[in-house]
Symmetry: C2
Subunit: 184 residues, 2 copies
């Protein structure tokens, strides 16, 4: 175990109420009432709808230059005004993973502007990426986003831009889960 491991537990408990679960590509996930985020890799439990596990890790594509820009503008999670969240698990296909590092970087940034597009929506949209593929999970990545209700439109724009990119041709499963904090 390490302190970079997290589990997203969909069930009846937790500070985040699930508003909507939408399959963007491939199979959907069932809609739980609430989601809680726990430290560590928590095993599946029959009284939960699902549990998604991931680990934050070193950067895989970002250059030093890009990272400087990101760090200078991004904000962290848990801002009081950021009462909206999205939990977006995705899986990339075998063709993606078979490519070499430079091929994947070219598609991700040179052709798809993944990092540049994300930068446009900082600091409004805070995000945290979790890696799941090497843990043997059904998804490859789980991204958790937080934003204020007034930025929902910008967040949808961000997703629209990414989903229209070349990189998204390599995505074979994506579920878009929207949540609201602290609503009874």
């Amino acid at each position: 175990m390490n302190d970079r491991m997290f589990s997203f537990i969909g069930g009846t408990e937790g500070p985040w109420r699930v508003e909507r679960v939408m399959a963007v590509k491939g199979d959907t996930l069932a809609k739980p009432a609430r989601v809680k985020i726990a430290s560590g890799l928590i095993p599946d439990a029959t009284d939960n709808t699902w549990t998604l596990r991931g680990v934050t890790s070193n950067q895989r594509y970002t250059t030093q230059e890009e990272n400087k820009k990101l760090v200078s503008v991004q904000e962290g999670l848990n801002r009081p005004e950021a009462t909206c969240a999205a939990l977006i698990p995705i899986r990339k296909n075998a063709a993606w993973w078979a490519m070499s590092q430079d091929q994947r970087r070219d598609i991700l940034e040179k052709h798809s502007k993944h990092i540049e597009i994300g930068l446009r929506y900082l600091p409004a949209i805070a995000r945290k990426l979790h890696h799941s593929r090497d843990l043997g999970e059904p998804f490859d990545f789980i991204t958790w986003f937080e934003f204020a209700p007034t930025h929902t439109h910008e967040f949808d724009e961000l997703l629209h831009a990414l989903r229209a990119s070349e990189e998204w041709n390599y995505i074979d499963r994506e579920v878009d889960i929207r949540l609201v904090r602290g609503v009874a």
Copy 2:
């Protein structure tokens, strides 16, 4: 779980007899009599000396050009003549993991020629890299090497060249375990 996960179990069983365990940097590991390689992430068991776990994954640094060269000359594990093996777990320090992708690539290949050095010893030395860091293991990587007894000197040369490189300044723990196959 996925079929890319492996456990190296040091104990009293397995086809590989341990000849020597040497701490290159940081704490050593105890010397077991034998090592067996199992599929999956096997939990520690009190009757084993240690268990090291890792997962093979997508390439992190190799370019398409480099990969073509590697694929054209490298050979696989389990060659009948390759009765010598080395199991080398390493851990890199926090400074390494905090760097961006381009900084790590520059150190690994531009300054340290990690891929180029490895290429010089193909096909004699077969290797398989397992990632352990994101599994919460004590080491970051476990590399398993196989070679014929006549290539032991070349293998030692390869390690010497890598350990003299700038990249190795970022390694804070390394254990070099040598094994021989099928010896009673």
